[in-house]
């Protein structure tokens, strides 16, 4: 197990390094420059040059990269060029917001999707299966902003049940915060349900058709026991992997949902940083999301290996 973890951590480190290089170079390839974004399109070029010099963005890209990455490993994420604030002061609250929304969405969608997928598999090719699979996929292909706006119109404006924005007032208790987060989380549930439930359904069908399931049934075990002990344990393996891969999207990719619900999460932060060519903020944000993503996939791999001894033994050999 230790070797398995070390291998995974080593790969994660290489991935993060490459990610940081790609983001930094990519951001520099975008047209425009920081000072012009700050001062405006009509600003005098001398003023733009002066500000670029003050910000240090006129230095060679390698030097800028080195300054940033060496600071990063010392716990200094740098200073935002757009907001003149330590990057950590911007990323900290945004990451917390994103984690709250992602956790709430996960708590809602994971049980629902797993139950939906299992029910669909058990009722294969019957009405319940058709409703869950076709309905789930139909909702999943609707763009997030369409789903979000429909939910806002129905539950926010017409029925007046939930707030139309996601950020609760300062000092709100947990219930109030959940009330504010409900509509964006529901949007995510609608987006993710079809995907996760379909994977669960496929895994469950495969497990149901497996020899060990037939053997368990022939042994005379009750159906509920067969499903719980033999089917679910194997059918959830691909589901865990899929859920883990959604972490990156949920933490750093919700630009549309965060914008629609005016929620100050990582997605909006990364988007505006890219727009402003705010290198330290952009690179640090992406790297943080990358770390969260890699931790999630690492945990998924661990869970995977715990549930599936074949993987554990293969890595140990």
């Amino acid at each position: 197990m230790a070797r398995f973890l070390l291998t995974r951590l080593g790969l994660a480190a290489i991935t993060l390094f490459l990610l940081s290089v790609f983001v930094f170079v990519g951001a520099n390839l975008l047209p425009g420059n920081v000072a012009r974004r700050k001062l405006g399109n009509l600003a005098d070029q001398a003023a733009v040059d002066q500000l670029n010099h003050q910000l240090g963005t006129d230095k060679p890209i390698l030097e800028q990269y080195w300054n940033w990455i060496s600071g990063f490993f010392h716990g200094d994420l740098g200073t935002s060029l757009s907001y003149n604030l330590p990057v950590s002061e911007l990323i900290g609250p945004a990451l917390l917001h994103s984690l709250k929304l992602a956790a709430f969405a996960f708590v809602m969608v994971v049980p629902l999707a797993i139950i939906g997928g299992v029910v669909a598999a058990l009722k294969r090719d019957r009405l319940a299966d058709r409703i869950i699979t076709v309905g789930g996929l139909s909702l999943a292909v609707v763009p997030e902003f369409v789903t979000g706006i429909m939910l806002i119109l129905v539950f926010g404006l017409w029925l007046d049940l939930f707030p139309v924005s996601a950020n609760a007032p300062d000092g709100s208790n947990i219930l109030t915060q959940l009330k504010y987060l409900f509509l964006p989380a529901l949007t995510l549930v609608i987006v993710l349900f079809g995907y996760i439930s379909r994977i669960t359904r496929a895994g469950t069908i495969e497990a149901l058709d497996a020899d060990y399931t037939r053997t368990a049934v022939l042994k005379g075990l009750p159906r509920r026991t067969v499903v719980r002990r033999h089917v679910l344990r194997n059918s959830l393996l691909p589901t865990i992997a899929v859920i883990a891969t959604q972490t990156g999207y949920l933490i750093g990719g919700l630009v549309v949902i965060e914008t629609l619900f005016n929620y100050p999460g990582m997605g909006r932060l990364i988007f505006t940083a890219a727009n402003d060519k705010d290198f330290p903020l952009l690179a640090s944000s992406v790297l943080i999301v990358g770390i969260v993503f890699l931790v999630a996939t690492l945990l998924a791999d661990v869970a995977y290996s715990l549930l599936n001894p074949r993987i554990r033994y293969a890595t140990a050999e």
Partner: protein, 564 residues
């Protein structure tokens, strides 16, 4: 039932469903009188009939368009106290008075900061931190008397030295100040002095009759800050002298302000207000409809159609000088001949553009930067109208009867791509083929200097210009031979001379006399076509009164409050 009502009922029996719908909307206050007249005539009602109905049916709520600068929501008695929730667009940068260049940032600066004077809805200057001002005989020197007994929120006394240092910082090229767009070439570093605590004297580079406007709230960077405060640190305290002071500021999220009980003037009515930042206007629209904010500082016609017909929202329309310029390079074919430029300008159907792109909430442009709202604009100059026959004749006279092909550069923002497409269609009516090259704004503006900017180097382009309470910056930067924004490469000694005279003129009559000559000259030369000047729109809940909005992104809530 009185006679008027009987006549109205009799008229409505004979009108179509559409006409009755418009009358209903007007009676319910959903559309303004101006909008009622416009729509009524479009659907076939005669002017006398529309006028009678407009008078008989009342209505007209929902915010009449008012004259530029600033305008309030409905006015009247309000309850004392309260906390007002305001939605503004996300500030683009840190709150630093030196570099703020956008509406969101201007809103932050004006929340706690004050200016020497405040540019009001009639484009008049109301004294604030300056009690009075006067020029010398030729307008090269302006002396401001600074209000005494004013304190900053920290408790320190505000003096003339703070004013002097503020402006010295703003005009210093090393500081990369955004205020240089208005003060560059007008006030040089070292030319502001404070002979005593109550007096500031500005020694200008050249005579300037509108200088007080350039140092008023119209120049949103020009809030007065303490002399010993580094502008880069302003965002930590929002130090100012205004009726509200900072309670808390959360970057990317919002800010809270509370009443400044030590304010030198009439104390603010509300206990405070909350600013909420939005990246897009769509969520702002939903927020006011969902009762999560009381005041939306700015929205557009295209993004806020839902508010324009919402009876639960007050819409405030402010006439502005915000416009688009379609430049045609006077030094490059095919636009070296002014008749070709005139021909292009004659293809534009301006009323259709105003209706189609702005739902009627815009003034017609007449190919000069003298917007109808400026007091100095001479409205007797004939309005240029669409005339395809004349345009074809002009092209023929210029030896281009078969038309030509040209590339139009612009960027993807606001309604500009739609305008570009319509310009292309209009030009096709006289045989001119326009190929559109639409990029992002960073590409279009490039380095914003000649030689490395599609904006300044392209043969034809469309550029956006924000509101200015006086046309000085447009004139000096766009239309003079040495203008740094002269995308048309227009070099005309007469224009240079007239613009110099206009900027130097100290009174409105003198300005108006020169303005007429400039308007006629630019209409004839047409280096730039300006199809419209569009309104600045704000929205408020019906129970919010006395909230004042400005076309530059500022707002004044000091007298605002709720009726219930």
């Amino acid at each position: 039932m009185d006679d008027t009502q009987r006549r109205v009922d009799a008229i409505r029996k004979d009108r179509s469903e559409l006409e009755n719908h418009i009358i209903d909307e007007y009676s319910a206050g959903k559309i303004t009188r101006r909008e009622f007249v416009r729509r009524g005539t479009v659907v076939g009602m005669s002017i006398p009939l529309v006028s009678f109905l407009a008078a008989a049916c009342g209505g007209g709520g929902g915010g009449e368009t008012t004259g530029g600068g600033t305008t309030p929501t409905a006015t009247g008695a309000v309850q004392a106290g309260g906390n007002i929730r305001v939605a503004i667009i996300q500030p683009a940068t840190e709150p630093n008075p030196i570099i703020v260049k956008d509406e969101g940032g201007a809103g932050l600066l004006g929340s706690t900061g004050e200016f020497l004077s405040f540019s009001n809805e009639q484009l008049e200057l109301e004294p604030r931190l300056a009690e009075s001002w006067e020029p010398n005989a030729d307008g090269t020197e302006w002396t401001f008397k600074i209000r005494q007994g004013v304190t900053f929120h920290s408790g320190a006394t505000m003096t003339a030295n703070d004013v002097k240092t503020t402006f010295e910082t703003l005009v210093n090229p090393k500081n990369a100040s955004n205020a240089l767009s208005a003060l560059g070439g007008v006030l040089s570093p070292g030319n502001t002095e404070a002979p005593d605590d109550a007096t500031v004297v500005f020694h200008l580079d050249a005579p300037n009759g509108n200088f007080p406007t350039l140092v008023s709230s119209a120049n949103y960077n020009a809030i007065i800050i303490p002399a010993d405060l580094d502008p880069a640190d302003w965002g930590k305290t929002f130090e100012g002298t205004g009726p509200f002071k900072l309670d808390s500021f959360t970057p990317k999220v919002g800010a809270k302000f509370v009443r400044n009980d030590a304010y030198w003037g009439e104390k603010a009515n509300p206990d405070g207000f909350d600013l909420k930042f939005y990246d897009e206007e769509g969520p702002m629209i939903l927020a006011i409809q969902g009762d999560e904010v009381d005041f939306v500082e700015h929205f557009s016609v295209s993004g806020g159609q839902a508010l324009l017909t919402d009876p639960n929202v007050q819409v405030i329309a402010i006439r502005t000088a915000t416009h688009r310029q379609i430049h045609m390079r006077t030094d490059k074919d095919p636009f070296t001949d002014k008749r070709v430029r005139q021909a292009i300008a004659l293809t534009l159907d301006r009323p259709a553009l105003v209706d189609g792109l702005w739902d009627g909430k815009a003034d017609l442009g007449n190919d000069s930067p003298f917007a109808p709202l400026y007091p100095s604009t001479d409205t007797s100059v004939p309005q240029r109208e669409k005339n395809i026959d004349q345009a074809k004749q002009l092209l023929s006279d210029a030896g281009m009867a078969d038309g030509f092909t040209v590339e139009l550069n612009t960027w993807k923002g606001f309604e500009i791509p739609d305008l570009a497409q319509l310009v292309k269609q209009y030009a096709a009516e006289i045989g001119v083929t326009i190929n559109l090259k639409i990029t992002d704004d960073a590409t279009y503006y490039g380095d914003a200097v000649f030689g490395s900017s599609p904006w300044l180097d392209s043969v034809m382009g469309i550029t956006d210009y924000g509101h200015r309470p006086v046309p000085n910056v447009y004139l000096a930067s766009v239309y003079t031979s040495k203008g740094t924004w002269n995308a048309a490469h227009f070099k005309n000694p007469q224009a240079d001379q007239l613009i110099g005279q206009y900027i130097a003129a100290l009174d409105i009559d003198s300005q108006k006399a020169v303005a007429k000559q400039i308007q006629e000259l630019l209409l004839d030369e047409t280096p730039v076509s300006i199809p419209y000047f569009y309104n600045f729109l704000s929205a408020a809940k019906p129970n919010l009164k006395n909230a004042v909005s400005a076309a530059t992104g500022q707002f004044d809530l000091s007298k605002a409050g709720y009726t219930s």
